[in-house]
Amino acid sequence: MRRKLQVDDATVLQPHDHVMWQGEGDGDLYALAGGALAAGARRGEKLMFVAQDPDPARLSEIPALDRLLGSGQLELVDIDAVYGESGGESGDFDEQRQLATFEGVLADALRDGYTGIRVVADNTRLASGDEEGFRRWLRWEQVTDRFQCASGVTGICYFDRAALSEERMADLASVHPVRSANSAEPVFSFVVDGDAVSVTGTLDMWSADQLQRILDATPDDRPLVVDLSQTEFVDHHALFALKGVASESRPVRIRRARPIIQELASLLEIPSPHLSIE
C-alpha cells in the first residue's frame, strides 16, 4: 500500500512520494529544496530543481553542491524550460508530452546508474491560472501521481500559499498522498495506489463540489477504478458524482465499497453499463 502522510522534514521523503509542500516565498522554497535534494543525493538519485531563475548560491547547504552540479547529478532548470513559456497558464500545457519528458528523464537516469529521480518544483505559477488552466493542472497532478506511484520518482510540488486560494490549496492537497505538516488535513484524498485511485476521508454533501472538480480533471484515457475501502464516510452525493463522470469511453468501477455503500447505490440505481460496483 502506498504511504499517505504528513511530514515536517523534507529529508524523509522517498521514492513514490508525491508531495504537496506549502510555504510562503522563496525562502521556504529554497529551504525545502536544500533538504530534499541533499537527501536525494545520499540516495544516489538524479536530482532536478525546477524554479523561476533557480539560484545555486541559495542551495549552498547541499553537501558537495559543485560536484553534484558538475557531474550533472543535479540539474537546475528554469520553469519555462520544463513547462513552456506560458507555464501552462494559456492552456498549451500538454500532460502527455510532459509525462513523456519525465519518463525519458527517468529512463536516462536509471541507464546512467542513478537509483531514481527526485524533482523539487515550484508549481505555484502553474496552479495560478484561470479555471481551465487549474483544471488542466489538476489533471497533470493526477497523471504524474500515477507515474510516481509506479516508478522510482520522488516528486515534490511546492506551492506558495499566499498566491493560491484556500479552495485551490484544498484541491491540491487532495491529490497528493504526502503533504507538508503545515498544510490542513484535506476532507478527502484521491490518490493513486496500485491500479486504482484510493479515496480516504469523507465524501458527503459538503465535499461534493470539490470531488466534482477533481473528477472533472481525472484523466479519461482509461477506466477509473475507485477503491473506497479506506473512506471514513460516503453518501449519495459522491455516488451521483461518480455516475456523472462514467461513460462508455471511461467506465467507472467502484471497488471494495462497504455493504452500506452498495446498498445505497442499489437504492439509487447507481450501477449502469458504465459504472459497476465490485
Binding site: 458527503d204 454533501m205 459538503w206 464516510f233 453518501d235 449519495h236 452500506i260 445505497l264
Partner: protein, 313 residues
C-alpha cells in the same frame, strides 16, 4: 431561523436558560469569539458542559488542543473546584485564587479574555445562595482589576421564581437573552446513549456521525452502524442546510432499534404537510434505510427522528 445571540464584550453578563442547547449556543459563541480574535477563553463548568463547549468551540473557532497548548484555552471543572472548597473555606476566595492562577498563565499580549463561570449556579442549586452572591461580587471585582469579560449562566430550574431570577440577575451588568430552542418532546427517550448540541456548520455533521460510532461501540451488540451513521448524517445535514439553527443530535437504543433524533430551532411552516421524499434525496434515503421515521412539530422548532434496525441491537 433562529437569530444568533452574540455576547459582545461586556463586563459581567448573565444568561438564564431553560434547555441545555441555549447555554451551549450562547456560551459556545462567547468563547469562540474570543479565540477567533486571537484571545483566550476560560471555562468553569460542569464536566458535561465542558465537553459540550469543547465540541462547539472546536467546530466554530479552533482546535481546542492547539489553543490549550498556546495557553489560550483553560478548562476548570466545577467538581474539582468544589473538592478544594473546605468546610470553612469561602467559595468566592477559592475561585478567585483559581482564576488568578489561570489568568496569570495567559500570555500578556493575548486579548480579549472571555470567562464563563457557572459555579454560582451550582452553589445556588445547592441552596448556598449567599455564597453564590459573594461569588458574583468577586467577579465584579475581578473585571475591575483586569480587562476580562465574564459570562455566567443559571438554569431556570435553579431559580425559584421571578424574585430569585431578579436577585441573580441584579448581580450582573447585563442579561443575555436566551435564543429560542424547543423543549424536548414529552415522551423524550430517557435512555439516550450519545448526544450533542451542535452549531449549524458542516463540521457538525461529522460530529453527529461520531455520536453514532460512539454509541454503537458502547452498545457492543449493534451492527447497523453504517446505516445509522448515514441516517443521522442526513438529518444533521438538513438541520445545518435548511434549519440553519443550533441543533441537538441524539442516539439511543429502544425496543431493538437505534433511535436517531435531530431537534432544531426552525419551526415547520404553517400549513406544512410534509417534506418531499424523493428516492434520490436525503430524506428518501432516510425513509428507505429506517424502519420508521417522522417529523414532529415542537413549540419553537421541530424534531426529526428515525429508527434503524439492522442486525442485533
Amino acid at each position: 431561523m433562529a437569530t444568533p445571540t452574540r455576547v459582545e464584550d461586556s463586563p459581567h453578563r448573565v444568561l438564564v436558560y431553560r434547555v441545555e442547547a441555549q447555554l451551549v449556543e450562547v456560551v459556545g459563541d462567547f468563547l469562540s469569539d474570543a479565540l477567533a480574535e486571537g484571545g483566550a477563553a476560560v471555562i468553569i463548568a460542569t464536566a458535561a458542559h465542558l465537553r459540550a463547549l469543547d465540541e462547539w468551540v472546536h467546530i466554530c473557532a479552533a482546535d481546542v488542543e492547539t489553543t490549550a497548548a498556546e495557553l489560550r484555552y483553560h478548562r476548570l471543572a466545577i467538581d474539582d473546584i468544589a473538592a478544594s472548597i473546605g468546610r470553612d473555606c469561602d467559595p468566592a476566595g477559592v475561585l478567585q485564587d483559581k482564576l488568578q492562577e489561570t489568568l496569570r498563565q495567559i500570555p500578556r499580549e493575548v486579548a480579549p479574555v472571555h470567562i464563563f463561570c457557572e459555579l454560582g449556579a451550582a452553589l445556588w442549586e445547592r441552596g448556598e445562595v449567599t455564597a453564590a452572591l459573594d461569588l458574583e461580587s468577586m467577579s465584579n471585582s475581578l473585571r475591575v482589576m483586569q480587562p476580562v469579560s465574564v459570562l455566567c449562566a443559571y438554569p431556570e430550574s435553579a431559580l425559584a421564581g421571578m424574585a430569585e431570577m431578579e436577585r441573580a440577575c441584579r448581580e450582573h451588568t447585563a442579561v443575555v437573552e436566551a435564543p429560542s430552542f424547543p423543549d424536548a418532546p414529552a415522551e423524550a427517550n430517557a435512555s439516550t446513549v450519545s448526544a450533542a448540541v451542535l452549531p449549524p456548520a458542516p463540521a457538525a455533521c461529522r460530529t453527529a456521525r461520531q455520536l453514532v460510532r460512539a454509541a454503537f461501540a458502547r452498545d457492543g451488540r449493534a451492527t447497523a452502524t453504517d446505516a445509522a451513521e448515514l441516517v443521522l448524517a442526513e438529518l444533521a445535514a438538513n438541520a445545518v442546510l435548511h434549519a440553519c439553527s443550533t441543533f441537538t443530535a441524539e442516539v439511543s437504543f429502544c425496543n431493538g432499534a437505534a433511535h436517531l433524533a435531530v431537534t432544531d430551532a426552525a419551526p415547520l411552516p404553517s400549513g406544512w404537510t410534509g417534506f418531499p421524499v424523493a428516492r434520490d434525496h436525503g430524506l428518501g434515503l432516510v425513509a428507505a434505510l429506517a424502519n420508521d421515521w417522522a417529523v414532529q412539530p415542537l413549540k419553537g422548532g421541530k424534531i426529526v427522528w428515525a429508527d434503524v434496525t439492522r442486525g442485533e441491537i
